[in-house]
Amino acid sequence: MKILVTVKEVATVEDEFEIEGTEIASQYLGADLNEWDDYAIEEAVQLQEDGIADEVVTVTIGPEECEQTIRQALAKGADRAVRVWDDSLEGVDLLDVNAKTEILSGVVEAEDPDLVLTGVQAGDDSFAATGVSLAEEIGAQWGAVVNHLEHEFDDDLASVRRELEGGVEELTEIELPAVLTIQTGINEPRYASLRGIRQAQRKELDVQTLADLGVDESAIDAELTLTDMYEPESESDVTIWEGSAEETAAELGDLLRDKGVAP
């Protein structure tokens, strides 16, 4: 079985930041492997260790700078990586779900995986929609918000648990090929070993353009345009206690005693 895992480098924001137009000013931004994708990578690597997957390939849409993040996934055990980038993607403010779907479906066509694992959502734009949209596009089955996957695929079925609201899980069987969006808690993502990090340097990282994938440039014309970004208005009149830790702790202590909820 071949598994394709989508890996995104997400932007992280410092505690204090400024907004310029429809972006956070770049000096306040960092970069990290998307939390949910980390769990998807781990699940794929475990499937390989269990002798079920023959190959784990990652796919990332992003510029050269994100190769650091891709190497992290390779260091954890993915076999090789595909990175899609192109001049036409350079100036795009926000890649919407449709654009990602088009690009990723081009990669699926080339790789023909039996299983695609994506994170439930990306920590930066948090659309939480690309996996399911991709499944529809490529004519595969899917399951959103999967927090358990049985590692036997009897009768070409994936037995999963989907995590619903309020501590309820749904037990579902999904035909392969399928796209599963992976929720945190499904496993314990590993840290890359030193050996893994060294090996990752030698693994294949293949860069593809839209043209290579047969994706028309017009496919990424965003249908959704970001028009404004601002800090949300605070809903509460928060009282901020200032001072040393002893002083602020004393304020909180008084509140708890006033409310009669602490001795």
């Binding site: 505690d15 929609a129 399911v132 609201e165 899980e169 999904i174 249908e223 345009t225 509460s236 909180l252």
Partner: protein, 317 residues
């Protein structure tokens, strides 16, 4: 005129609250240009559900009787067929776990753009202006979509509709292709049981990723013991196996309403806030003055939990 098709949600025989919220959101959007609001209710006891959904401002309720519980293939087929029949401008779905399991597929099948987790929607009949958050709630954005679109709405952002309506209730004869159904739901399981019920606690000392390591959890347990409070947590703490599942507060954990909720090293992501915003008094201890939890906190300490928590424990020992 902007017609809206809003999809309702139920589980194990009960309509979920977001079904009444989506009526409000849909009505608001349709009102902006004088359009109609259509509801769809798919699977389960649809006639019974339709009665309950017949609230003020709904023009028509389309029932699709097929199967008992949610199945995304049935939903996707039924909604795309309803769309072809009704030609609404917007399809609204809940931004629930199930909404996210079909709305993107519906959008892609219909070749429409999709915008998820919206907290406000506006239209002039041409352009949909959707408000949503990014970066875990640190910023809010507005987004424009031209023409028809699919949008999912965040729960509890719109009030629940009330008032009895006089909608027409029509059975929609969806042509469900059984061969295209590639998944089956075999049951449900409650997973957050156990000895402690955090939803009963008067005071919750709740710990988040700011605690950094499992070895630091006793810091929080000591505080809880000194206060006679109960320990709860955000999701990563449970994902890491540092506390059992029954301690998780939030959308996929428990909803809690204590007198005092002390959020320690918790950023206040929407899925966490969904479980604790009904707390009487919310206190946040966080080094980040811009953490989203500050927007709902009543009291805040912008400081290192490793300094504040031991000092507080000492006060009560």
């Amino acid at each position: 005129m902007t017609d809206v098709l809003a999809i309702t949600e139920h589980r194990r025989g009960e309509l979920r609250d977001v079904s009444y919220e989506i009526i409000t959101a849909g009505r608001q959007l349709a009102d902006e240009t004088g359009g109609d609001l259509h509801l769809a209710v798919i699977s389960g006891t649809v006639d019974e559900f339709a009665e309950k959904l017949n609230r003020d401002g709904v023009e028509a309720i389309h029932t699709v009787s097929y199967g008992e519980e949610f199945n995304h293939d049935v939903y996707t087929q039924a909604i795309t067929q309803l769309y072809d029949e009704l030609a609404p401008q917007y399809v609204l779905a809940p931004n629930s776990v199930n909404g996210l399991d079909y709305a993107p597929a519906v959008a892609n099948a219909l070749d429409l753009p999709v915008v998820t987790d919206t907290i406000d929607l506006e239209t002039d009949g041409e352009t949909l202006i959707a408000t949503r958050e990014m970066y875990g709630g640190k910023v809010e954005t507005t987004n424009e979509l031209e023409g028809e679109a699919v949008a999912t709405i965040r729960s509890t952002e719109w009030p629940q509709s009330d008032g009895t309506g006089d909608a027409s209730i029509e059975a929609f004869d969806a042509d469900i292709d059984e061969d295209a159904i590639g998944s089956s739901v075999n049951g449900f399981e409650e997973v957050a049981g156990g000895d402690v019920d955090i939803s009963e606690a008067d005071v919750l000392v709740s710990v988040g990723r700011g605690i950094e390591e499992e070895d630091n959890i006793p810091l929080i347990e000591d505080l809880a013991e000194a206060l006679g409070a109960t320990v709860s947590s955000s999701r990563p703490i449970v994902d890491n196996g540092w506390l059992p599942k029954n301690r998780q507060v939030g959308q996929s954990g428990k909803v809690v309403t204590p007198d005092v909720y002390i959020a320690i090293g918790i950023s206040g992501a929407v899925q966490h806030v969904a479980g604790m915003k009904g707390s009487d008094t919310i206190v946040a201890i966080n080094t980040d003055p811009n953490a989203p939890i500050m927007d709902i906190a009543d009291y805040a300490i912008h400081d290192d939990l490793f300094d504040v928590v031991p000092a507080l424990t000492e006060e009560f020992q």
